[in-house]
């Protein structure tokens, strides 16, 4: 793995997000920096970025869904809508999800899910906020055709 290149790409992803610019092409670059096994790799990249995107001071905040919605809005990650939230899990949908938006709009249907990058990203964000190892999973993807917005669950382990 070219870790230097990956770090550079993550840095540029952050800058692009801060400047409200697209990062799609950078994800491909990151893939080349690491190798393949796409879903796992995109989750890993999303997770690394999520854990670098916010400052640790935000970790003390209690309202996780609101914080996540704010981060999603700030960096234009998509429209964050919380559907269910508890101490141990958050279920949410993401309108205009970057990974599936272009593909879904091109009328392509797939059985597989496309947004493991976003799953990893939100897992990384929650992990940074809670300081707990979290796990996120996409439950339904717009590309599959059954939903209008991609849906995710984040599982937060209890103390």
């Amino acid at each position: 793995m070219n870790r230097i290149l990956l770090e550079e790409i993550l840095k540029r992803m952050k800058i692009n997000l801060e400047n409200k610019k697209d990062i799609g092409h950078l994800k491909v670059g990151a893939l080349y920096a690491i190798g393949s096994q796409l879903e796992a790799i995109f989750y890993f990249i999303g997770h690394e970025l999520g854990s670098k995107l916010i400052e640790t001071s935000e970790s003390e905040a209690e309202d996780l869904p609101k914080l996540l919605a704010d981060v999603a809005e700030k960096y234009e990650l998509g429209v964050f809508n919380v559907k269910e939230a508890d101490d141990d899990h958050i279920v949410f949908s993401l309108g205009n999800c970057k990974s599936s938006e272009d593909i879904a709009s091109a009328d392509i249907k797939s059985e597989t899910m496309f947004c493991s990058f976003e799953a990893g990203l939100f897992a990384g964000l929650v992990e940074k906020m809670t300081k707990k190892h979290c796990f996120a999973q996409e439950q339904a993807c717009k590309v599959q055709g059954a939903v209008d917005e991609c849906e995710f669950i984040i599982v937060i382990p209890k103390d």
Partner: protein
Amino acid sequence: MVYPVIYFFSSEYCSPCKMVERMLKEINISLFGNKLIIEKVDIVSDLEMAKRYAVNKVPTIIVGSQRISQIIDREELVDVILQGFLSSVNLP
């Protein structure tokens, strides 16, 4: 593009193997969203696989061209997985 499977060579009575297996599962869930493809190989019951991959000690993890044996550190294991994936990519 061929995606390498992660081969985890172990044996039933190897206690470090159990520790590494837990570490591998934890890494898969926390860093890779439980999406890694891991194949566990018991070197006693599947001697052919052990011979094919020249495994003579456990635990051993093989990912593409990368391998790691015995004393396995978490960070090192993550690097081996990522480097193993890289070894499967042929850049033009």
